[in-house]
Structure formats: structure tokens, C-alpha cells
């Protein structure tokens, strides 16, 4: 099996599917060196049929499937090493603490953060952004101050700021996007004002796939002493991220989109900000000394980790990023880019199809609409063919409003998807059109 090229191996796994058209075989790139068939074996969930068809999982922007290494890690820790962290003198507590702090170091390396105490474990991107809004934002923003986001943000990078604005009297400014789904950088720059206190933008858009020019954004903001938060929920699974090279002030990501468990994520913050920020929640672990008169807060990162953390999922997230590093984020990015190009080409063969989000720099997301067929109906019919896509507004209603659609269908690719699966998707879309006549 290992010797077979990726595409052949998958074809034999999916005998139920008809062979793709000759045209598609011609344009399909040859991904030398990336053994996707072998990688697929690491993901037990992919070996199943749905509605009688081999599962084609194309909803990776919503969440990714988990490799055996991650699943086994969770089991192993609960079976051998589990106890509470940072508080016991006994052996299991020490082992759990070492594993937990070891995971923090793996995440530090994965993001190339300067210090491991700049890595704060949170529930996910949503909690990371809320943490910054409530801790950084609430302690620094005054009435009339501004926060700048873009028109392509996920609700979780909109609503926490709206809440903050209500609490402080600050104003939320939104930098516009153009018809391709690209940020209008000039207009963004013009919106940076003397009152701007924070810029918060997605590194990659979940609804459109756009990869933002974050380095340029950060330079523009920093030249005015404005810190920048990057919502990395979508970018982190698809490309190498180096927070020191980017020079971002905060970076938020979700473990479950990174082939790790649910309920765990990361807030990276530059030491100077995290030191200056007040705690987010109060409780155990985040304190050094408590009396009823005064409480002394713990050092970083514990100041921001009140209560018993999600120990085992944090450890398993460490395993997930280790797994990704053995493949190599650059290899994943390159392979997924080929998948996206191929999917785009093949999708454009369908005259009734419109791609929503056509930025020059894009991650592996294909958002589309079909003439006179609602995305929900597309999703249901594709599901019948074993194909999992997302249909809806993707928690980005302002983006839908901008493009004048109620929703889109979205196929999003991950490291284990294949060119054959894209053929199956395209055949599926043709069937949807056929059913709807």
C-alpha cells in the first residue's frame, strides 16, 4: 500500500465511485513526496461509509478529524498518568504536570513563540479573543477609543468587541473588503486613527478562504503603536505560523481545527502585554497568595488559567502539533494549495456555479453557490452521496450580506483529502443540478 501512489491507493479504496472524467485526470497534479494514502491510514474515522458511500469529509474548516496519535494519547494519559496539575506532591500529579507543561512547550515551538509562558491554554479561539477583549480591552479602552476589525471576520471576532464597546463606550470600526474577498488595505490604513487601540483581524477567512496580508497589516499598525491580534483559527492548520516573524501581539487558535481535541486552544500573547494585563477569571491556579484583604496573582501564564485546566486535551493538542510537524506544515500547505487549485479549476467547469471568495492568496476553502439551488439543498443531497460539506452563513453573516447571498456551500480541505475526492465532489454537484432539473 505504501508503495502505491496516493491517488491509486484511494481509487482502490473507493470502488463504488465511478471513474473521474478524462479531463480531470489530465489536469490533476502529481503530488510527489506527499503520501496522502499513507496519511489517511492515520485517521480511523475516514474509513467508513456514509449513506452507503465512502465518506468524503470536506468540512475541515468547521473541524478536523483526529489522527490515531491524538486519540491514543488521550487514552494513554487517562490510563497511566492522569491527575490534577500544579498542586500535588505525588507521582501522578507530577507526571500530569510535566506532560501538560511539555505540551505548552510543543505549542511554543509550533508557533515559534519566544517564551513558553506566552502560551495560554484556553477553550479555543472564541475564548482567546474574549480573554483579550475583557482583560486587555477593558483595562485600556476609554470612551471614544476604537477597535479595528475587517468585514470578513467570524462572529467570534466581532461580538466580543461589540460587547467591549458597550462596556467601555469604545467604537468598533470595520475595514471593507472588495468583490474578490480581499481586504482593501488602503482603506484599512485610513481607518487607523489616533484613537485606534487594537487591530483584530483573521489570518485566514473561514467563509472565503482569503489569506490576509498580515505582515503589512501589522507593520501599518505598529508604525502607529497599535497592537494586533490575529485570529488564527483557520490559518494555523494550513500553514507554518511564526509569531516572532509576524511580530503579532496576540495569536488565537483552536485545537479542534488543528487535528487536536475539542475544548482546547491557545492564546499566544507577547510577554509585555500579558504581564500588563489583569487576570481574565479568578479562581485557583491563577493566584500566588490569597487573603481576604488582597490577592496576589500568579506569574504567567497561570495568571490567565484559573481553575483546573483541560489537562488531557492540552496534552493531546501537543501530540497533534507534533504529528503535524512530522509531516511538515510547508508540505501540508503546498499539497493543500494543489488541492485548492484543482478544486477551483474543476468547479469552474460547472456553468451554474459561482465561487464566493476569489482572492489571489487563498487557503484550501471553496465557498460556492449554484444558480437557483439553495446551499442547504446542496448540502443535503451531497450528504446522500457521502460527501460532508457545510452549508450556511459560516458564522460570518456580514460576509453573506456583502456578497448578497443568504448562505454558501463550502468545501474545505485538510491534509488527508485527495484529488479523487474533489472529482467525487464535482460529480456530486452535477447530480445536485440534475436532481433539481
Amino acid at each position: 500500500m505504501n508503495k502505491v501512489s496516493a491517488s491509486q491507493a484511494v481509487m482502490t479504496q473507493n470502488p463504488a465511485h465511478s471513474a473521474p472524467s478524462a479531463a480531470s485526470l489530465k489536469t490533476r497534479p502529481n503530488s510527489v513526496g506527499y503520501n496522502v494514502a499513507k496519511l489517511r491510514e492515520d485517521f480511523p474515522i475516514l474509513r467508513q461509509t456514509v449513506n452507503g458511500k465512502p465518506l468524503v469529509y470536506l468540512d475541515n474548516a468547521a473541524t478536523t478529524q483526529k489522527p490515531t496519535a491524538v486519540i491514543d494519547c488521550i487514552r494513554r494519559v487517562y490510563e497511566n498518568d492522569y491527575s490534577n496539575v500544579h498542586r500535588g506532591v505525588h507521582t501522578l500529579s507530577q507526571r500530569s504536570t510535566d506532560l501538560f507543561e511539555g505540551a505548552r512547550e510543543k505549542l511554543q515551538q509550533f508557533l515559534n513563540a519566544k517564551h513558553s509562558h506566552e502560551i495560554v491554554f484556553v477553550r479555543g479561539t472564541t475564548e482567546a479573543i474574549n480573554l483579550v477583549a475583557q482583560s486587555f480591552g477593558r483595562s485600556t479602552l476609554k470612551e471614544g477609543d476604537e477597535i479595528l476589525i475587517t468585514a470578513m471576520e467570524h462572529h467570534s471576532n466581532i461580538v466580543p468587541w461589540q460587547m467591549l464597546c458597550e462596556q467601555t463606550g469604545a467604537k468598533l470600526k470595520v475595514a471593507p473588503i472588495g468583490r474578490t474577498g480581499e481586504l482593501l488595505l488602503d482603506e484599512f490604513e485610513q481607518l487607523l486613527s489616533p484613537r485606534t487601540r487594537l487591530v483584530s483581524v483573521c489570518h485566514m477567512s473561514n467563509a472565503l478562504g482569503t489569506i490576509n496580508p498580515v505582515k503589512a497589516i501589522i507593520e501599518l499598525a505598529h508604525s502607529r503603536d497599535i497592537p494586533v491580534l490575529l485570529d488564527g483559527a483557520q490559518a494555523a492548520p494550513h500553514m507554518a505560523v511564526d509569531v516572532q516573524d509576524l511580530d503579532c501581539d496576540f495569536y488565537a487558535l483552536s485545537g479542534h481545527k488543528l487535528y487536536g481535541p475539542t475544548g482546547i486552544g491557545i492564546l499566544y500573547g507577547k510577554e509585555k502585554w500579558l504581564e500588563a494585563m489583569p487576570p481574565y477569571q479568578g479562581g485557583g491556579d491563577m493566584i500566588r497568595r490569597v487573603t481576604f484583604d488582597k490577592t496576589e496573582y500568579n506569574t504567567l501564564p497561570f495568571k490567565f488559567e484559573a481553575g483546573t485546566p483541560n489537562i488531557v486535551d492540552a496534552i493531546a493538542l501537543g501530540t497533534a502539533v507534533e504529528y503535524l510537524e512530522t509531516i511538515g506544515m510547508d508540505a501540508i500547505a503546498e499539497y493543500e494549495n494543489q488541492l485548492l487549485q484543482y478544486a477551483t479549476e474543476r468547479a469552474l467547469e460547472i456553468p451554474q456555479l459561482t465561487i464566493v471568495g476569489t482572492a489571489e492568496r487563498k487557503g484550501a476553502i471553496l465557498s460556492f453557490t449554484l444558480e437557483r439551488i439553495h446551499p442547504h439543498d446542496i448540502g443535503t443531497i451531497l450528504d446522500h452521496l457521502g460527501i460532508a460539506i457545510r452549508a450556511g452563513h459560516h458564522c460570518a453573516m456580514p460576509v453573506m450580506d456583502f456578497f448578497g447571498v443568504p448562505a454558501t456551500a463550502r468545501a474545505s480541505f485538510g491534509l488527508y483529502n485527495t484529488f479523487e475526492e474533489i472529482d467525487i465532489l464535482v460529480d456530486g454537484i452535477r447530480k445536485v443540478i440534475e436532481v433539481f432539473g
Binding site: 442547504h376 439543498d377 446522500h384
Partner: protein
């Protein structure tokens, strides 16, 4: 291979999706309500003219999937001319056929064409599409707030 899907997408559904009945703004409506399904972004505006407890006219506008459009269209056809109580009874029946168990006996004759939407019960994620129009109607008849949401 797509046979099963025809239980959900019957010809009547396609027909009402392509040519929705009573798909218009009603200038002299005495009830108007916005229905919204936040899950998928479907929106409908329902117009109702009630006179002495009778639904004299009902129409809708909006954008939605085939299931929600067909359901709204079928609903406007079937409730027109009925009293508010009768409409409520139809709503209850419709709710049962779209969410109930298979052995939940409903007099299919009584609900007529609405029966084509019973296939939705096999698709829990789509039930809200089918019931959006009906929830909107119920709110309109009760004269509730001007927005209903399926959430």
C-alpha cells in the same frame, strides 16, 4: 442511488420551489411578520389578512431553501379561507408529521398536500426549514413580536 432523496424532494416540493404560490407583497395585510432561521440565514416575510377570525388572504416573500420555500407556498394555499383555530389545528398536524414518529397516526387526508413534507422527519437538520413558515404564521395570528426565529 438518489431514490431515497426523493422522499424529501418530491415533485410537489420542486414545483412549489420553482413557482411558489402567493409569493407577493400584500399591501392591505393586517398582520406582517419576519421569520428567520439563524442557522441557515433563511428569511421570510409573511403577510396575513385576518377578518373576523378568518384568514382571508396570506402571502409571503423571502429567500430560502427548497424545503422552506415549498413549505411556505403550500401553507399559504392550505390555510387560506380557514379560521384561525383551524389554522392552529393544521399547524399542530404539520408539526406532528414533520417531527413525530412513524407510528404517530395523522389523518393524511386532512392535511392533503402537506403530507409531501413528511419526508423531512428523516432529516432532523432540515425540520426547521419546513416549520419556519408555520411558526411565522402562528406568531402572526397571535400578533406576537414582528420577528420570529426558529432558534
Amino acid at each position: 442511488m438518489l431514490d431515497q432523496i426523493r422522499d424529501l424532494y418530491q415533485e410537489v416540493v420542486f414545483d412549489h420551489n420553482r413557482n411558489p404560490r402567493n409569493f407577493r407583497v400584500m399591501e392591505d395585510a393586517n398582520r406582517k411578520i419576519e421569520g428567520f432561521n439563524p442557522l441557515c440565514g433563511d428569511k421570510i416575510t409573511l403577510y396575513v389578512k385576518v377578518n373576523a377570525g378568518v384568514i382571508e388572504d396570506v402571502s409571503f416573500q423571502g429567500s430560502g431553501c427548497a424545503i422552506s420555500t415549498a413549505s411556505a407556498s403550500l401553507m399559504t394555499e392550505i390555510v387560506k379561507g380557514h379560521t384561525e383555530d383551524e389554522a392552529q389545528h393544521l399547524f399542530d398536524l404539520f408539526h406532528r408529521i414533520t417531527t413525530g414518529k412513524n407510528d404517530d397516526a395523522v389523518n393524511l387526508e386532512e392535511i392533503g398536500k402537506l403530507a409531501v413534507l413528511s419526508g423531512v422527519r428523516a432529516y432532523p437538520a432540515r425540520v426547521k426549514c419546513a416549520t419556519l413558515a408555520w411558526h411565522s404564521l402562528q406568531a402572526a395570528l397571535k400578533n406576537e413580536a414582528d420577528t420570529v426565529s426558529t432558534e
